[in-house]
């Protein structure tokens, strides 16, 4: 009963079926994105299908019970197959039948016959051993016929055994990795320490505390001359029982190894940079105030309901400045901070505020920001502000202009708009600069006039602009311990070795029947190979020539 079950389990159709099912199942997991947020799945599939797929473990399917069972089943099948075939194969490799029945003899693909005069069968056997020693001849005498048998590549069945054994070893190694190892992420801000990793566990997040702490001293990014990142480098110190024990740099492809745990450079981000913002009040007073905060903090205005939730900071912001359809043209727009602006009386928005004005060639087009009314980074729109807010004089000029303009339009309605503008502007310049006008007053004027349109439309009490920053990165590390990895490597080595034996070593058998005939002998050589029949053709031919003519060359008839 058990035996038949084992035979079934080790059978070929089952193996093929298993391989096919495994292939199909694996394919599903590449199409259905794995380990995404649960809300994303819910949105994508709707409640019913979400529930069905979730109960089938489809969102983490390579670790689901049924996929693991499939792999387990594969292990059972391979074991059964080995159990079924190995004894037979070992027996076949050992057994070398010297004599052959006529029926088998006739079916041999390769045959040659010839006669030798003046030689006895024993002398022939001796000569054969000398001329072709690599065949490992054995002999048996049956009546007056001497049988010789030679083999090459007898061990080729080991290929099969090794390959199937290797798959078992690899699967066991994989199981050990999952069972006794771990793999997770941690983020360490520059100057900070961390000892806990996080990882995906089913539909939730798992935590694990390391027996040591990782301190990030510094994180740096190096760039290629064309602006692409060249290297992400973290300088780490391992702190064990409160004492620093090891300080080392890691980069991608060069992890750090400590107490069985490998520490990899995986990602990076903002680690809570210090941010100084300047708020330009739009209440007509022309005030501006400075606030200090940090990324991930929320600043609350003590005088109103307004809050700034700082979400990110980037010192470089390379954007494609080309129009759609044009070849891409990248330009670094400089440092920018992202935050969510909330308050009574206006819709909360996500803003990316740049420190520098937008400059094309020599032309300063003034400060700008990216605003997303939906709160999603996809919906960012560029909002040019007109004036260059990084220049305090320009802010003064703008306010003076607005003040003069308001005075003029309320006092004498007889003045035409254009004229009022011009006079107000002249008065404003005199207020701010006196007679000492800067060289770019023309451009500045254009920006100020433009600002009157844009700034007045803003619904916020003030414009928060990035004034200064002190950047702090966090380094994203991946920590992994893998006790099964060496088992997997051993299995892999065996696999490759087995494949090479299986494919490139063929078992070739030759028989030589030596029958005494008169004062000489009649020889009959026959051979077969289990694969690579082409090369055996040549090999058989060469063997025949060697035995027949005493050398390997002979004529290549």
């Amino acid at each position: 009963m058990i035996k038949t079950l084992l035979l079934r389990l080790g059978s070929m159709p089952l193996a093929i079926l298993l391989l096919t099912v495994l292939a199909l199942a694996s394919a599903i997991g590449t199409v259905l994105l794995q380990n995404q947020g649960q809300t994303d799945y819910l949105q994508q599939f709707g409640p019913l299908w979400y529930w069905v797929l979730r109960s089938l473990g489809m969102f983490d399917m390579y670790h689901s019970w049924w996929f693991i069972s499939l792999l387990g089943f594969l292990m059972v099948s391979v074991s059964a197959c080995l159990w079924r075939n190995v004894p037979r194969m070992l027996g076949e490799m050992r057994a070398r039948k010297v004599t052959l029945a006529d029926r088998v003899w006739r079916r041999m693909e390769h045959q040659q016959q010839w006669t030798e005069q003046g030689l006895s069968a024993a002398e022939v056997a001796e000569r054969v051993r000398k001329l072709a020693p690599e065949w490992g001849w054995i002999e048996e005498r049956v009546g007056d016929v001497l049988w010789l048998r030679g083999d090459r590549g007898r061990r080729h069945k080991w290929g099969y055994i090794l390959v199937h054994g290797a798959i078992l070893v690899i699967l066991i190694g994989g199981w050990m990795s999952v069972q006794f190892g771990f793999r997770g992420d941690m983020s360490v801000p520059e100057g900070g320490r961390e000892s806990e990793i996080m990882f995906v566990q089913g539909t939730g997040t798992g935590h694990l505390t390391m027996p040591f702490q990782v301190q990030c001293n510094k994180f740096t990014i190096n760039f290629f001359p064309n602006g692409m990142p060249k290297e992400f480098r973290s300088n780490l110190t391992i702190i064990d029982h409160g004492k620093p024990v090891l300080t080392k740099d890691i980069i991608v492809n060069k992890p750090l190894y400590y107490k069985g745990v490998r520490i990899y450079q995986a990602s990076f981000g903002d680690g809570g940079s210090a941010i100084r913002m300047k708020l330009f009040h739009l209440d007509g007073t022309g005030r501006s105030s400075v606030i200090n905060t940090r990324v991930y903090d929320t600043w609350k205005d003590p005088y109103s309901s307004v809050t700034l939730e700082m979400t990110n900071f980037k010192p470089f912001n390379v954007e494609n400045m080309a129009d759609p359809g044009e070849p891409k043209k990248f330009q670094d727009l400089g440092p920018a901070v992202e935050f969510v602006l909330r308050g009574k009386g206006f819709k909360s928005v996500k803003i990316k505020s740049f420190m520098n004005p937008f400059v094309i060639g020599d032309e300063n087009r003034g400060s700008f920001m990216m605003v997303s009314f939906s709160g999603d980074s996809k919906d960012y729109e560029a909002v040019p502000l007109g004036i260059d807010l990084s220049n305090p004089k320009e802010w003064q000029l703008f306010n003076a202009f607005v003040r003069h303009l308001a005075q003029r339009t309320s006092r004498a309605s007889g003045e035409s708009g254009k004229e009022a503008n011009l006079r107000a502007f002249k008065a404003a310049i005199f207020d701010v600069f006196g007679d000492d006008r800067p060289a770019d007053i023309q451009q500045m004027g254009m920006r100020v006039i433009q600002s009157v349109q844009t700034l007045m439309q803003l619904p916020w009490p003030y414009i928060p602009m990035l004034e200064d920053y002190d950047q702090v990165y966090y380094t994203g590390l991946e920590l992994a311990r893998d006790p099964g990895i060496n088992v997997v490597w051993v299995g892999s080595a065996i696999l490759v070795l087995g494949l090479c034996i299986m494919f490139y070593l063929s078992h070739r058998k030759v028989w030589l029947r030596v029958a005494t005939e008169g004062d000489g002998v009649k020889l009959h050589l026959a051979g077969m190979s289990n694969r690579n029949k082409l090369m055996f053709d040549e090999e058989f031919h060469q063997l025949f020539n060697r035995l027949r003519y005493g050398s390997g060359s002979g004529d290549e008839a």
Binding site: M12, A15, I16, L19, T20, L22, A23, S26, A27, G29, T30, V31, L33, Q34, Y62, R107, E109, G174, S177, R183, F224, P225, N226, M228, P229, K230, E231, F232, I251, V252, N253, K254, P255, R262, Y264, A266, P327, E478, L479, A480, D482, I485, V488, W489, S492, L495, V496, L499, C500, F503, Y504, R531, K533, L534, D537, E538, Q542, S551, G552, S553
Partner: protein
């Protein structure tokens, strides 16, 4: 069992036999050994510096010593082919000769490069490698046309032309890739130099060359020129794809992202493509089998003059998988080793990894039914074709349609 009707393996060309070939082979091996010794013991190894170090006086000394040592060992050890049996050297030496020719051609092309002042990273159209690759494209297309024409007019000289053009294409493609390697050091102060196996465009050129090399080795060995029509048809498709990639701006040499900056790239990628290339040849043999079976059924024998027999095609398919499967297995294992070094685990069920496993399973099953069940013929022919479609998805489809850790292969 009926007898095999495959042609005898061809006798090697005269330059690949005899004492000279044996010593030459050992000299090459000595050179490789000398360079490896230089990398290991010649001071601090630095990837980019090493390329230049090999060509410097130090390189000449280490290499020369290696060559001499190799010749010495060869003269002492090798039986040569005194017994008339060509040794392994005569099988290896054509490959090493070919590699040397490619390197020499690369050196020759490099003389035609534009002056340093004319080289610009933003416009790479004046680099010589692009022109050589264009020549390769033309040669491969011409070769495909010749081989296909040969099916209808089995004049041996058309087949010879096809074969010659394919050889030309291989040497052009191989030397152009080497030249691209050299060129990558000419941009942005030599900071971005890297092996030319870093994006889809480069690996497609590699793929064209590898498919052709495997086929040409088969052709030389088994004299099966009829198969060329199918193999070179696939190569022609690959050529069109790479031309399209070039036209959408994928042909430029770009810096490597940090994840790819590893010596593993130079091992993992080419080995994978030996696998893919062999599977392509197996697919061509399968297509030829199916076509021949259909033609025979309809009694249209006039096309079959130079077609290999069904049995030969079956065997050629098997031989191709025999090369491809171990290479692909090894490539996947080495890929896992790289992943263990770069991503924190040897297996992450990343789409590319998973599809590599699927390809492996498909060919594993193919081998099972063939070797253990003794299947052959129609089912296996179809299987080879479909398995190659799966392979294609693994290396192009995954990049184009799925995301994951291998995303640097994506089209941008």
């Amino acid at each position: 069992m009926n007898t095999m009707t495959m042609t005898q393996p061809a006798e090697g060309m005269i330059i690949y036999r005899g004492k000279l070939a044996v010593l030459r082979c050992w000299a090459y091996l000595g050179l490789i050994g000398g360079m490896a010794a230089l990398a290991l013991f010649g001071g601090d190894y630095d990837e980019s510096a090493f390329v230049f170090q090999m060509l410097s006086m130090t390189g000449a000394l280490w290499g020369g010593a290696g060559v001499l040592a190799g010749i010495g060992v060869g003269a002492l050890l090798s039986r040569g082919d005194d017994a008339g049996v060509p040794g392994w050297e005569s099988k290896l030496v054509p490959w090493l000769d070919g590699a040397l020719v490619m390197v020499l051609l690369m050196g020759l092309w490099s003389l035609l490069e534009p002056a340093p002042s004319q080289i610009s990273y933003t416009d790479q159209s004046n680099m010589v490698s692009g022109k050589i690759i264009m020549a390769m494209n033309v040669l491969f297309l011409f070769s495909a046309i010749c081989y296909i024409a040969q099916l209808f007019a089995p004049a041996s000289f058309i087949g010879k032309m096809g074969s010659l053009a394919a050889w030309g294409g291989v040497y052009a493609g191989g030397s152009a890739l080497l030249l691209r390697w050299y060129e990558s050091y000419q941009f942005l102060g030599g900071e971005i130099g890297h092996a030319p196996v870093s994006n889809l465009y480069e690996v497609f050129i590699l793929l064209c060359c590898i498919i052709s090399i495997i086929y040409l080795a088969f052709e030389r060995r088994y004299k099966t020129t009829g198969l060329g029509a199918f193999v070179m048809f696939l190569v022609a498709c690959a050529v069109f794809f790479s031309v399209w990639l070039g036209s959408i701006g994928q042909a430029d040499i770009k810096p490597l992202v940090p994840a790819l900056q590893s010596y593993w790239m130079k091992i993992h990628v080419p080995l994978n493509f030996i696998g893919y290339g062999s599977f392509a040849v197996a697919c061509a043999a399968g297509m030829a089998w199916l076509l021949r079976a259909r033609l025979e059924q309809r009694g249209k024998t006039e096309l079959l003059a130079i077609f290999p027999t069904l049995e030969q095609l079956d065997l050629l398919g098997y031989r191709a998988v025999m090369i491809g499967f171990p290479a692909f297995t090894l490539a996947t294992i080495l890929g896992a080793a790289w992943a263990a070094e770069a991503w924190g685990g040897y297996w992450s069920w990343d789409p590319k990894e998973t599809w590599a496993l699927i390809v492996w399973l498909v060919y594993g099953a193919w081998l099972h039914v063939r070797v253990s069940h003794g299947w052959s013929g129609r089912v296996l022919a179809w299987w080879s074709v479909i398995a190659f479609v799966v392979t294609l998805f693994c290396f192009v489809g995954v990049n184009m349609y799925l995301s994951g850790l291998h995303s640097y292969g994506r089209l941008t």
